[in-house]
């Protein structure tokens, strides 16, 4: 969706969304998850190698508390038969129930890429991590 060029002569209506401060960057180190009590199930805010992402704490599969799951990598097939390797360590989340893998940055399910967990924008402003789009 493209945004219209700002028309300085008229006011554009702005959609207001709620945002909430999650914490200071140093309180949310890489590899951590913080569950913010917002929405029906909470929202998990992840620091993946210095970048912040947020996912609904509700697995689209069977309703597990998704953000209680392991942060891990994704195992992919290697080059030869029976070879495998792990990639993207720290970038994936495994549901604590049936073990479905999700890419933290996009919420996309690895086994079923057409399915994705709802994500939320996260902003870092002056060292403060802010969860937006609520």
């Amino acid at each position: 969706m493209t945004q219209a060029e700002p028309n300085l002569a008229t006011e554009r209506p702005v959609k207001r969304t709620e945002s909430v401060v999650v914490g200071r960057v140093e309180e949310l180190p890489p590899g951590s998850v913080t569950i913010v009590p917002r929405g029906k199930f909470g929202i998990g805010v992840y620091n993946v190698g210095g970048s912040f992402f947020a996912l609904t704490n509700y697995c689209l599969h069977r309703g597990a508390p998704l953000c209680r799951g392991q942060v891990t990598g994704k195992v992919v097939a290697g080059d030869g038969p029976y070879e495998s390797k792990m990639v993207g360590v720290g970038e994936f989340l495994r549901c604590p129930w049936h073990g479905w893998e999700f890419e933290i940055a996009t919420g996309r399910a690895v086994a079923y890429p057409e399915k994705a967990i709802r994500t939320y924008p996260v902003l870092v402003e002056n060292g403060t991590v802010i969860l937006e789009g609520l």
Partner: protein, 357 residues
């Protein structure tokens, strides 16, 4: 029902005239070694009560074993409504001496060619199966190479009984050879008196009816293995035919495999698709007389289970459970029946369209 030129029977079992006829096609020392006869010893089919023996009584020629007389078979196939028949000869079971097992397979192929696929097969009514011994993959691959250029052979055949599931890596040379030549692999239970494991995971059952009801479901051990070990990923051209039936239990068992595939990705990351997604491209089932939902829900079940894509009609002649083409779910729509009676087999085996009579 009159024979329809287009009906393809995906599983017919010719037999030698008498057990030792096979030796005529074997070199020494195999020719002189003892091996089991052509009948199943474990779980004997009772003769004094239904089904009154393993074979249709009218399939016994005056001289010779059931299914050994080409004229009689031809007449019976006509009566069953069959045009083309895929001959799937059975061997002598799992033999501990793997070289003997391979020799029996090779002799079976030579016998089939000479007696059923040669000069007498002028109308091309019959096509054949290359029997191979999965216990010796290198020999099996060589045997496939030996026959692969002969258009009379349209598939490879292995027993349902095995000592390792067919997806495991020891079998790789066999499936590679089959895939290389575009030959499907048919799996069918083997008679004999060999080194079979139990026919169920709980051991032996006492009654023939139990054995007969349960053994076809054993396809799932091979199918789940082929998928989980990535065989269909590595060999996109490979197709398997489960020729003893079992289609009726396929759908619910594959649902289970689908259910635990996501959590299993760490162990089998090469399974790139949901397991049931492999079926249409890689698996077919032969029909069986005693399978399927009751008539009142048969159509709904058949559609839900995807029978139109996966099934191929087979008579299983000359066994007691022989099914005529006309017996296959008459209430299904004609176009669906046509796929099962001929379309799916024609596509799988790359058979020509029938010439108009």
């Amino acid at each position: 029902m009159p024979a329809r030129a287009d009906v393809i029977d995906a599983s017919v079992h010719p037999l030698v005239r008498q057990p030792d006829e096979l030796r005529e096609y074997m070199a020494e020392p195999w020719r002189s070694l003892p091996f089991p006869g052509p009948h199943r010893y474990l779980f004997p089919t009772p003769t004094g009560v239904a089904p009154y023996g393993e074979y249709r009584s009218d399939a016994r020629p005056d001289k010779g074993l059931p299914g050994s007389d080409p004229a009689l078979m031809a007449r019976h196939l006509d009566e069953l409504g069959v045009g083309t028949a895929v001959l799937l000869p059975l061997c002598r079971g799992l033999l501990p001496n793997v070289d003997l097992g391979s020799a029996v397979c090779a002799a079976t192929n030579d016998w089939l060619k000479a007696n059923w696929l040669g000069p007498l097969n002028t109308e091309g009514r019959y096509v054949g199966t290359i029997r191979v011994n999965p216990e010796d993959p290198a020999a099996a691959a060589r045997e496939i190479e030996r026959w692969a250029g002969d258009p009379a052979f349209v598939q490879v055949g292995v027993p349902l009984e095995a000592h390792r599931p067919y997806g495991q890596r020891n079998y790789t040379p066999i499936w590679e050879a089959a895939a290389r030549h575009g030959l499907p692999v048919a799996v069918h239970s083997e008679p004999g008196a060999g080194t079979d494991f139990f026919s169920t995971p709980n051991g032996y059952h006492r009654h023939h009816i139990e054995y007969h009801a349960l053994f076809p479901a054993n396809f799932i051990y091979h199918l789940s293995s082929l998928i989980a070990e990535g065989v269909f990923e590595r060999l996109p051209e490979l197709r398997f035919v489960f020729a003893d039936g079992g289609f009726d239990v396929l759908m619910p068992l594959m649902w289970r495999m689908d259910l635990d595939w996501p959590i299993s990705r760490i162990e089998v990351p090469w399974v790139s698709r949901k397991p049931s997604d492999y079926l249409r491209d890689h698996v077919r089932f032969c029909t069986a007389k005693l399978e399927g939902a009751p008539p009142e829900i048969r159509t709904e079940w058949f559609e839900t289970a995807g029978g139109a894509d996966l099934l191929m009609y087979a008579s299983n002649y000359p066994h007691w459970s022989t099914m005529a083409a006309g017996e296959f779910f008459p209430q299904l729509p004609e176009d669906v029946r046509a796929r099962v009676l001929c379309g799916n087999a024609r596509e799988l085996y790359r058979l020509p369209e029938p010439t108009p009579v």
